[in-house]
């Protein structure tokens, strides 16, 4: 009997720990599987979106002469906190936070272009300031393309700014759309770096166009204190302090629809 029961007992002794091991392995495998699934899900969610925060796009000092007038610069809220979100091909969401970069760029740009620049806050009344003109830039549109869309190795960014210029009496004298374009290849840098670089190049492109064409297109230098106002009758759009006068679209010195060059 002993010889008959011993193997059974041994089997029992052996099987008990094995079954506990198997149960332990099952739990371990299940937990590992859950963890892997969790990591995969997190990875997929993270892989489906890219967040870019734009750095300050500094421009070099331009080789141009300053326009001898004093201007006020009033920037709308979206210049200080502009975020563009877009779903590409229904699978990848991009969030591009331009943040304060536009405000910083235009402050630097107009500082290089004009003799004197006064930054206006939303509550400031420009009529109370000693300025020859008020310039109010804004963003009309921001678009970009990714390599999958363009079938190239490049990211491209288009930004359309709008520059409104008011004379000292608050009359709108110019409403100029400025279209800028930047492109950056992805071969030696990451996708988010390439998109960021394309956006910075588009902003630099806008700066170059504004330096070259602002006075020619808007005749802003003619608004100097001693000058007479622009001859063509502007659409009268009085400045309401802090208000965004988006309705004033027609002007005396309207530039071409799109001066993309």
């Amino acid at each position: 009997m002993n010889s008959g029961t011993l193997p059974h007992a041994e089997t029992l002794i052996i099987r008990m720990p094995r079954s506990r091991h198997i149960a332990g392995y099952a739990i371990l495998i299940s937990r590992t599987r859950n963890a892997l699934a969790g990591f995969l899900l997190v990875g997929l969610i993270a892989g489906c979106g890219s967040n870019i925060v734009l750095q300050f796009p500094s421009i070099p000092i331009p080789l141009t002469e300053k326009i001898p007038i004093s201007i006020g610069l009033r920037m709308p809220a979206n210049f200080k906190d502009y975020v563009h979100k877009e779903q590409v091909y229904g699978r990848e969401e991009w969030s591009i936070n331009l943040g304060n970069s536009n405000a910083a760029l235009f402050t630097q740009l107009f500082g290089y272009m004009f003799e004197k620049v006064t930054i206006l806050q939303a509550s400031d009344d420009p009529k109370l300031l000693d300025i020859d003109a008020l310039i109010e830039p804004s963003i009309d549109a921001f678009e970009f393309s990714v390599p999958n869309q363009s079938k190239t190795d490049s990211f491209a960014v288009w930004i359309r700014y709008r520059i409104k210029i008011y004379d000292r009496n608050g009359a709108l004298v110019s409403n100029w759309p400025v279209s800028a374009y930047g492109k950056s290849q992805t071969k030696s840098i990451s996708n988010s770096d390439a998109l960021q670089r394309a956006a910075i190049l588009a902003m630099r492109d806008a700066a170059a166009l504004i330096i070259m064409k602002l006075d020619e297109t808007t005749l802003v230098s003619s608004l100097a204190s001693a000058s007479t106002p622009v001859t063509a009758a502007p659409a009268q759009a009085p400045i309401a302090a802090g208000a965004d006068t988006e309705e004033a679209q027609t002007t005396a010195v309207e530039g071409e629809d799109d001066d993309a060059g």
């Binding site: 331009p62 080789l63 141009t64 490049s154 290849q185 030696s188 190049l201 170059a208």
Partner: protein
């Protein structure tokens, strides 16, 4: 190490180098329009034609030509293109850069432009355009991995064409000195029997070296011979 071991190592290295590169054919030619030559202290700058005009020249290629032109005892003095563009802002931006030599006199009359160029002693601007494209490819390759290991099986190939053109502008004569162009075609192979063995045709690197060598000779030799 015996001399025999040393020879064996060199032979293996040569064989690996030979085997690991694909087939490449290249062509370089120039068209001279005027006399060239460069004095010591004078410099060149390499620029890409504007992407506003659809040019796709890779940043990596521009840097490669810059380095190749400056390399060696007979290397030219090359001003980094971004430094040049920044110093002349906004006149050499993709939107504003002169597209033809006939625009140079007007550009040089702008305030500060001639002075900035003279301060950097830039004698020639070399405008690059062109790109490297994959023109054909085929085959199939599959890889698998399991607990006991992994491996690949199959064969793939692709053909690339690196076609670049360099226009040389003389900033002293304010005229075009001529063009140098290179066209390199190469086929890469990737056979795999457990381990993939890439035989890569480096067309862009070849196009960079051949263009830079030819450009240096084009500029240094005045073309009067």
């Amino acid at each position: 190490m015996t001399p025999a071991d040393h020879s064996l190592k060199i032979a293996i290295l040569a064989l690996v180098t030979l085997v690991s590169s694909g087939c490449v054919t290249s062509r370089v030619e120039d068209a001279r329009e005027g006399l060239t030559g460069i004095n010591s202290g004078e410099a060149v700058v390499i620029m890409a034609k504007s992407y506003h005009l659809g040019n796709e020249t890779e940043e990596k290629y521009i840097r490669c030509v810059e380095k190749a032109l400056a390399r060696g005892s007979e290397g030219l003095n090359v001003i980094p293109h971004q430094e040049f563009v920044d110093s002349l802002f906004p006149w050499f931006e993709p939107r504003t850069a002169p597209a033809e030599t006939k625009n140079l006199p007007k550009l040089m009359e702008r305030p500060g432009v001639a002075e900035k160029i003279a301060a950097q002693s830039v004698r020639y601007i070399i405008w690059l355009d062109g790109e490297t494209e994959r023109v054909a490819g085929g085959g199939s390759l599959s890889c698998a991995a399991g607990p006991g290991g992994g491996g690949c099986f199959g064969f793939a190939w692709w053909q690339k064409d690196s076609d670049y053109n360099a226009a040389v502008w003389d900033l002293v004569g304010l005229e075009s000195a001529g063009t140098v162009s290179t066209d390199v075609t190469g086929t890469s192979f990737l056979p795999a029997l457990v381990i993939p063995i890439p035989l890569i045709a480096r067309t862009q690197a070849k196009a960079c070296k051949s263009l830079a060598d030819h450009l240096r000779a084009f500029i240094v030799n005045d073309g009067s011979a």
